[in-house]
């Protein structure tokens, strides 16, 4: 279980997180929604230690993430980045098997390649893609490779940062389905950041809405449409009218 308690983060005078409290039970999929610039990515990066919160605590299974052994802590995570964040200088299979080619999870090269090809197949890519470079792939294929990399070491927890941004609706649907299937199949704990309400409905067990640096509403996805929260209602409707200022 991941727990954030009263997490604050500011960049200069810009207070991004103003006391975030959030719980992600083990084996569930939480989707965090909210407008651009509301701190969703900062929230996610704070859990991974890519950003250090100014105050508050973040725990994983009761252990403070800032005090955990870094390598064994990170070995439990997989992450799909918004732009894929594939390494340009490495072929696709080495991107997917990156973690299996070095460090504590190192495997023989042939075995790592076989696992990479299997994970590529799992996300719907053929083995011929394995020896291409990321620049030779379309945006949708890059997202799938990023997803294959996120699951390559079979992590317990997977983070997805805007998994469908920049994709057409059909490819978005494919990625959403893949994420849901993989999370269920692996029994992983998942946290996804998105603006895409179709993704929310496809991926989430629970939803949290971040607004003005705090969690405005959180609950099961089934209750989202009847929450009675004016902020969440406005966000779901995609309307300019409501408590959320449309010009930020």
């Amino acid at each position: 279980m991941i727990e954030l308690a009263d997490v604050h983060k500011a960049f200069g005078s810009n207070k991004v997180l103003r006391g975030v409290n959030l719980t992600i039970p083990k084996g569930t999929s939480l989707v965090v929604i909210g407008g651009s610039g509301t701190g969703k990515s900062i929230c996610l990066k704070s859990i991974l230690g890519l950003v250090t919160p100014d105050s508050g605590t973040i725990t994983l299974d009761g252990e403070d993430v800032t005090k955990a052994d870094r390598d064994s802590f990170l070995a439990r995570f997989g992450m799909l980045f918004q732009g894929g964040a594939l390494f340009d200088s490495l072929p696709v299979w080495q991107n997917v098997a990156f973690r299996l080619l070095r460090g504590s999870l190192k495997r023989p090269k042939d075995e790592a390649r076989a696992i990479a090809i299997e994970k590529l197949r799992r996300v719907g890519l053929k083995s011929e893609v394995a020896d291409l470079f990321p620049a030779e792939l379309s945006g949708g294929m890059q997202k799938r490779v990023g997803l294959a990399r996120a699951i390559a070491a079979e992590p317990e927890i997977i983070f997805f940062d805007e998994p469908t941004t920049g994709l057409d609706p059909i490819m978005s649907g494919v990625i959403n389905e893949l994420i849901r299937e993989i999370v269920v199949e692996m029994g992983a704990t998942a946290m996804t950041i998105t603006h895409d309400m179709t993704s929310v409905r496809a991926i989430a067990d629970n939803v949290a809405m971040l607004h003005d640096g705090v969690i405005q509403w959180t609950g099961p996805v089934a209750q989202m449409d009847n929450s009675g929260d004016p902020y969440l209602d406005q966000f779901i409707r995609g309307s300019a009218d409501g408590p959320i200022e449309s010009v930020r």
Binding site: K45, L74, G78, F81, Q82, A85, L86, G103, S104
Partner: protein
């Protein structure tokens, strides 16, 4: 009274910013050196960096050195003619190349070629979240990106300086023997007799220092880039400028120390 405060602030702010930058760079250098001696070591990345910094820099270093050595021979000959000292061309070309021009020109060429490429590559990785991805894949960016590059600078730039020194002297030899009428055997003998071991050692020490500065600043500015394409461009420009200035400053300091011994 307020104008005095304004004047002092206008002096103090840039000085404070400069000192803060120097402090951050010093901490970064310390971290790079400490990671250099601690496992894990990424040998494939180190070999790739050695090829990029060393082997692929050979053409630019060779061309720079040969033309500089040739021009130096012509300058010394025409300058020496003013007080009947044309005969010292082999000695001055040798000492000029080995002690000063070889290390400095190679250092500046490495700053132009290698520092810019390192800064642009790492800055692009930073803005496309590849550095964050490395961290989430349990790989320390300092070990995976900085250590191989800085280590290759420390190893390969002294070698490039040694090669540059030899090619520079060869440039002087070609001009001296083909154009200025020097006897080939006498030219070589005068060159070899005049250079001392400490000239060569100082040249290689300077090479190591300049290689360290050039690669470290490329990594530092790449890792601390601003956002977007403009950030990458600014990081690259700042890396090259600061590497060039620090190389020239380090050259003065090292020359003062090495030849005072």
């Amino acid at each position: 009274m307020s104008w005095i405060i304004a004047v002092l602030a206008s002096i103090g702010q840039p000085v404070t910013r400069g000192l803060a930058s120097l402090g951050r760079l010093t901490i970064f250098a310390g971290q790079a050196l400490s990671h250099m001696i601690r496992a894990p070591f990424y040998f494939k990345e180190i070999l790739q960096s050695i090829m990029n910094v060393g082997y692929f820099s050979l053409p630019v270093v060779g061309l720079t050195a040969i033309f500089t050595g040739g021009a130096l021979a012509l300058q010394i000959y025409s300058g020496g003619a003013r007080f009947n000292a044309e005969a010292v061309v082999p000695q001055i070309v040798a000492i000029g190349m080995v002690r000063e021009l070889g290390p400095v020109l190679v250092g500046l060429m490495i700053a132009a070629r290698v520092t810019s490429s390192i800064a642009a590559e790492i800055a692009t990785m930073k803005v496309t979240e590849q550095i964050d991805a490395l961290v989430t894949l349990s790989t320390h960016p300092m070990k995976y990106l900085t250590v191989p590059r800085v280590l290759s600078g420390l190893i390969m730039v002294p070698l490039l300086v040694g090669i540059g020194d030899i090619i520079g002297i060869l440039g002087g030899y070609i001009v001296g023997t083909k154009s200025l009428g020097f006897n080939p055997a006498a030219y070589l003998k005068n060159t070899v007799d005049f250079i001392e071991a400490r000239d060569v050692v100082s040249s290689l020490i300077k090479g190591a220092a300049f290689g360290f500065i050039a690669t470290l600043l490329g990594c530092y500015h790449g890792m601390h880039t601003g956002r977007g394409a403009q950030g990458v461009g600014r990081a690259t420009k700042t890396a090259v400028e600061s590497a060039a200035i620090l190389i020239l400053a380090a050259n003065f300091i090292l020359t003062s120390i090495l030849f005072a011994l």
